[in-house]
Symmetry: C2
Subunit: 408 residues, 2 copies
Amino acid sequence: MRASEILLKTQKEASKAESLNQQLLVRGGFVDQLSSGIFTFLPLGLRVVRKIENIIREEINAIGGVEILMPALHPKENWTTTSRWNVPEMFKTKGVSNKEYGLGWTHEEIVTPLARKFISSYKDLPLYIYQIQTKFRNEPRAKSGLLRLREFSMKDLYSFHENETDLNRYYEKVKTAYDKIFSCCGIGAETILTFASGGAFSKYSHEFQTITQAGEDTIYVCDSCKVAINKEIAGPKPKCPQCGSLKLKQEKAIEVGNIFKLGERFSKPFGLEFNDAKGKKNLVQMGCYGIGPTRVFGAITEVHHDKSGILWPKEVAPFGVYLIVLDGKEREAEKIYQELEKAGVSVLLDDREESAGSKFADADLIGIPKRMVVSAKTLAKRSVELKDRETGQMKFVKISDMLKEIKS
Amino acid sequence: MRASEILLKTQKEASKAESLNQQLLVRGGFVDQLSSGIFTFLPLGLRVVRKIENIIREEINAIGGVEILMPALHPKENWTTTSRWNVPEMFKTKGVSNKEYGLGWTHEEIVTPLARKFISSYKDLPLYIYQIQTKFRNEPRAKSGLLRLREFSMKDLYSFHENETDLNRYYEKVKTAYDKIFSCCGIGAETILTFASGGAFSKYSHEFQTITQAGEDTIYVCDSCKVAINKEIAGPKPKCPQCGSLKLKQEKAIEVGNIFKLGERFSKPFGLEFNDAKGKKNLVQMGCYGIGPTRVFGAITEVHHDKSGILWPKEVAPFGVYLIVLDGKEREAEKIYQELEKAGVSVLLDDREESAGSKFADADLIGIPKRMVVSAKTLAKRSVELKDRETGQMKFVKISDMLKEIKS
């Protein structure tokens, strides 16, 4: 795509009062803030979020997830059934005849009665239903840029089982899928399986916490197990919940995902039962599993940046190549652009009337993995100049070798 | 995909009180009603909506549309600026510190101040920005199934121009794009360009009205021009707004799209100006263009069905082939399934433990264009049985010729 097609307009400065991810994402033209905790996703940002969502979708499909789309507008009755109508997270609204609705910040209250329509026998189990959908949350302090929003994208998966054993089996499977997702998003090394409060049904739930100074959570990471425990449940003398070691390192972290055994917490109030092989009625055992793509977007920015801008991991980068034209070599650049696109390399062609210096600065700020320059100097050598955004390494590459080099 | 992967569970009956599209879509397992005007999209329905959205996306991209994603939660201030805060369509909610928000039922109040950040000179114009996003509308009577929802998907495109001439030029371009979109969705023949109320800036706006008994609008269609005029502005003696003819046919119709010249209605209150070539400040001229993918989904159902079920046009069908296995020929069917999928034909494999009769009935109800049966009888002839859903024509096709036949 061309700069003109993606509203490319960067800013030199951003409010220093804002979190780092917000500063970088606003300056780079990925997002625009409408109000505290409420953002518009501009073309660059939307491309990144869609890539994250597709990574998630692929892995959840691979573990049997069935994708649906539930509404955001929830009748009050669904929430009074579970006594969660009056939680502070809920935005409420009224329709005609004063009918009350809540805006969904999670969907147990919707998916459980829905599942009743598909589950009657043990033969209908297990069942895994998910969606990638916009959620609303009445955040008291919507700060931290994309990390804590009032309106955000969420992948929420719900699983339905005959018994705890089967729930436990799937729960472990989701853990593995989550590891793959965060690795693919480029934050695998920084993202730690963290033991957290489990609620009534289970001793622990698990969070996926990405270590970064911007994190609002505090976790204690076990040196040998590479798992952590959330400060909220760690007590005064934190020890590793896996090996019992006291050698833990305190870190700030962002919760990018969580998995939770719900047991009968929701199947009971909604009467979600199944007939077992002997014809006896039992309550369905449930689990729920969340990842916020927009939060992951913010977390990646917090983890991968330097003083000049963002460093997008390849799999989530909005484009593969940032192509800069200098010295009026538009015609030659266009040919290269077409060749790359044809070969399946996504290219952002910076065809703006800007100085070379500001194009270079924007390339660094936006952080696409490869920067390519076409200029009189490079063309004299039948080459392009290629810069790796992360290492800063620059080299001339013959146009004839360009594709091989980019794809390597 | 397999039946088990898409929550395939049909219903023999649906409430006769409901509109036809709702009856068919609920019975076929495309959607599930949560509350009046609020639906969950089940896997089959989600596939259709995504296909409609992608058809729209492709055509809007082709006329220069830049895709973004604006939020649904709008600060009150944006709407008081245009004096539209107190319209009945608006769902309102309050956050912390009693901050008031409206839920977006349209986005002029958001996109206009956003455009200010990208437009300062005539060189920044024209600009075309769109999104495909979830909208909320406090409908007094949410009936008619998918045709009138309280929460729905919407493609809204906004155009920004130097002058009226350029706005008019683009407006005509959008008309052509819309014709392509509705044709591709299989309702081209039934969808009529209809003159409607224009507001303060323009004599007319234009609606795209799909003729069907389920429609809530009344239009008068000119026999020779194939355009129509909405009853709302037609007066007691309707005449064709194009040729003046009085030979008009009254029809019931659904508004599936609309295009509207906004002029300075929104650029003025938000101060959206540009410097022309002489350095003089002018107000930007705007247009807006909507299509509701979920409403198109309902409209297609109203137009394309028979007494047994839906007849999906090929481009929006959830799958290309509905594959039924009989006589325990799962292994053979699996091979055929794999072969079709590998060749890029999307297949719904009905591997449920149901009678042949109920599988046939479901195939008709769900309305995938081609039904394929693999049974002892067909295999004896090294064939499959292929039925065209629309014509009802059935024939045996050699397995070796199957792909050629399907793709023809």
